[in-house]
Amino acid sequence: MSIDILLLLGAALFCIGLAVVVTRKNAIAVLIGIELMLNAANLNLVAFSRFDGDQLQGQIFALFVITVAAAEAAVALAIVVKVYQHFNTADLDQINELKG
């Protein structure tokens, strides 16, 4: 397995995540796209870490990325649920007031 195909897979996943983020207006669908983009970055880190001898920096960094992604998802979903209670919609175009 060469590294190029892994990098291409990472790029493809990142672009699919970007397309999901751009084309959807539901807050949760946008969040799904962001998770996909974070995971694509992880794939690159792990792929390079394989060729890194015994340093393992890429894998450790991937672990930290996963942790931060978990924290981000928890906070983002809490905000989405709260916004839905306030505005009665999760459509990002209709949430356009700042003052609650």
Partner: protein, 175 residues
């Protein structure tokens, strides 16, 4: 073609097809389930790359945690309106144009850089990494980052509970 290569390409296929399904489907619940398949395929690729611990963490955190959170979020934000949880796809042309353009740029960059032919990559002795080695690294060289990330997770979870929990008094009379 040895068996490991076949499994490797099978995992790549699972990942790509389910990721494309996320982009094409309108139902958010379907895309959440397709995200599970994507994460599992990537966990398989991680195992084949010698990153077993990252793969296990991926399954535990993403499939076991974040996906459940997303499904809860879908459940809590689609109450009573309709039976379907559809979302429209807006700006389909421009979105796909931007994504394919960016992919073309990245693919050109990857093929031009030619990482596979670099010296440190061809000379690398890709020894099968052990989880023991990873644990020693995390607990010695990266222990400060490890503690900081733990505190970050704690703060984020407390914040999430504070935001999504019971309604605050100062907000209640505004509603």
């Amino acid at each position: 073609m040895e068996i490991a290569n076949i499994i490797f390409y099978a995992f790549i296929g699972i990942t790509l097809i389910s990721a494309l399904f996320i982009m094409l489907t309108k139902n958010i619940l379907y895309s959440a389930f397709a995200l599970i398949a994507t994460f599992l395929g990537m966990a398989g690729i991680f195992v084949l790359l010698g990153a077993e611990f990252v793969a296990i963490t991926q399954i535990l955190v993403y499939v076991g945690g974040i996906l459940i959170l997303i499904v809860f979020g879908i459940m809590l934000t689609n109450r009573g309106k309709t039976t379907k949880v559809d979302t429209k796809i807006y700006h389909k042309f421009y979105g796909i144009l931007i994504a394919t353009g960016f992919f073309y740029l990245l693919a050109r960059g990857i093929s031009t850089a030619d990482f596979g032919g670099m010296a440190w990559m061809t000379n690398s002795n890709s020894s099968p990494s052990s989880i023991r080695h990873l644990g020693m690294k995390v607990m010695t060289d990266y222990v400060l980052v490890f503690e900081v990330i733990g505190i970050l997770l704690l703060i984020a979870l407390i914040g999430a509970i504070r935001i999504a929990g019971h309604t605050r008094e100062e907000v209640e009379h505004v509603d």
